[in-house]
Amino acid sequence: MPTVFVNGQEITIGDKERLNGIQVAERAGVDIPRYCWHPGLSVVASCRMCLVEAGKKDSATGKITMQPKVVPACQTPATDGTVFVTNSPKVIEARAMVEEDLLLRHPVDCPICDKAGECSLQDYHFEHGRKERRADIQPFTSRRRELGDTITLFVDRCVMCTRCVRFTREISGTSELMVINRGAHEEIDVFRDENGQLEFPLDNKLSGNVADICPVGALGDKDFLYQQRVWFMKSHDNVCAGCSTGCSIKVEENQDHVYRLKPRTNPHVNQWWMCDEGRYGFHHVHDASRVTEPRRLEKTGYVSADWSTLPAELSARLKKAGRLAAVLSPHLTVEEAYLLAQYVKSLDPTAVLALGPVPVEGTDEKFRNGFVIHAEKCPNRRGVERIVSSLGGELLNWGDFLARAETEAFGAVWVTGGYRTPWNDDGAVGSLANSKLLIVQDCFASPLWERADYQLPSATFAEREGSYVNYQDRLQSFKWAIRPPQGVKTDGQLYWQLLGRAGLYKAADVLEEIGREIPYFAAALGGVADVGVDLKVNQIA
């Protein structure tokens, strides 16, 4: 096992690991500053911010020979005996010079720049920069240039790290971004026509990522632009509910308002990326048309119901209803689906469980680096399917369930939604016409909602707690990021109460139960890591 030295600290790395100086220093708790290096992109070593001193320790004699020059840590492999020094006067001076160089022509835009608070230029200036400005170049404010529908460019803030250009060439494979001109006149741009209008704009479905990887405020995410200061936001680990890829994400909110989603590093699922559909697919959480009032249908019409009495009322009515059925949406977490199924079965052991409609749009889209946007536009079909088939005895899909509902007059049907876009129609209403009691739990009005006997407003993905299983059978768990709007009780909390459990719904406890009861989920027992757990691990036996 190779041993590497960072500022005197011994770090052991794996035999097969291929790490550079930055990665190995990270393990030693040392953060080497850098702009152009990114673990997901090619190494160009052009920013020169990661310069360190490197050398070799002779394992026999213990003698250390350092190279006379500074070297970029990003392009120096960590092999057995490699010595890195990141805090010598030479290194400190080299860094300070690079930082000063980048600030020479940088516009003084911090007060109006979105990146403030999460800007590498700011952070490194604080930690590694000079104490005073020596440049005799006049400060100014940046020009702005549109690159496409999702991203805007503040031209003069760019530090020419070329991460964005490399992203469009290596990751999305669409090559829209380019560098123009030479030397200090270089700028980022896209191809324009003779009138300067966009001819080949930045328009691939991974475009939002370039604003993430931009180390300064040059690339702005138009959806987020000027919406919120980053230091006011709290970041919550979550999982994207856009499709079955199940990218690990962060939901960033302030006072229960979501302002943006960002990808979270997960080497097994999305590496460092997420697609635009997922990234910008959160506005429905705060849409004005969201339903937020529980209601009961009476002869005079809908009347407002009270959450404090509603659970008991529902249980009472369902107990006498006869044959029960529950439609579990692929937007529910595994735990929520399990609890609802349990509840319904506890009232009627012959209750029918079905999987809600699985939305499919187009075909899977694959990008140059292997990233896939799946056509299946829900996060948890596999997880909910397994709950349905394990607890329901068979896997009944939406179409077949509707057919059954037409002939079998159910006493009560509990339908869960949580879809972002319209998902049921008058046909579904017709199929369920024979059911005596219809409970619809959803985020937005729909034909079914308008016919429900009980309208229960539901949580969106940002308010849920639990786990999803993605297309690779990887289970990822997350906690809620924001509280739901006034009037909405989260699905998990409602089912928890209906089952008579005390206190607050704790998804982790439910997952332990599920893991013990259903073999498919056994690998989730004992806690789930940040990057999730591969459920297939236990399927071999």
Binding site: T174, S175, E176, L177, M178, V179, N181, R182, F191, F200
Partner: protein, 161 residues
């Protein structure tokens, strides 16, 4: 999208394609293609960049990225019939290169990079033309004019049609 007439003529396309077998990659034909177009049109309009990119199976951004790195290709309008490069590097500067450039700028009424109104001459500055024994020197299209005095420069300008 309406069918715009092609900027690249069949002749240019054939010339560009003739370069393809010389290199293991199509992208390597970028500079030869730019030169071919520049020679015929005296500039490389953006539409030509798109067509070159199509020929070489590249994104137009990739060709434009390369093009703008070099000082040689004009894009907004054709250069004058004579492109006058005046060297401003050290050997020529020591023998009056900067003053020669200023003189020409004044007498032609243009700034370096600009073309005279009659379309005859584009004045440009160049870095070391590699003819230092003839300083100060001027490259007029393909012709190197050695040891140029202000008077000789004026005389030459007269001969440009």
């Amino acid at each position: 999208m309406a069918d715009k007439p092609s900027i690249l003529t069949d002749e240019m396309i054939a010339e560009i394609k003739a370069f393809l077998p010389r290199y293991p990659s199509k992208q390597a034909v970028t500079l030869p293609a730019l030169h071919i177009v520049n020679e015929k049109l005296r500039y490389v309009p953006l539409r030509a960049v798109v067509e070159i990119a199509q020929l070489l199976e590249l994104h137009p951004s990739q060709v434009q990225d390369t093009l703008t790195f070099y000082g040689y290709f004009k894009q907004d309008a054709p250069a004058g019939r004579c492109r006058l490069w005046v060297c401003r590097s050290i050997s020529c500067a020591l023998r009056g290169g900067d003053e020669l450039l200023d003189h020409l700028a004044h007498s032609l009424g243009v700034k370096p990079g600009e073309t005279t109104a009659d379309g005859r001459i584009t004045l440009e500055y160049a870095e070391c033309l590699g003819a230092c024994e003839h300083a100060p020197c001027v490259l007029a299209n393909e012709k190197l004019i050695p040891s140029v005095s202000h008077q000789q420069a004026d005389e030459f300008v007269q001969t440009v049609k």
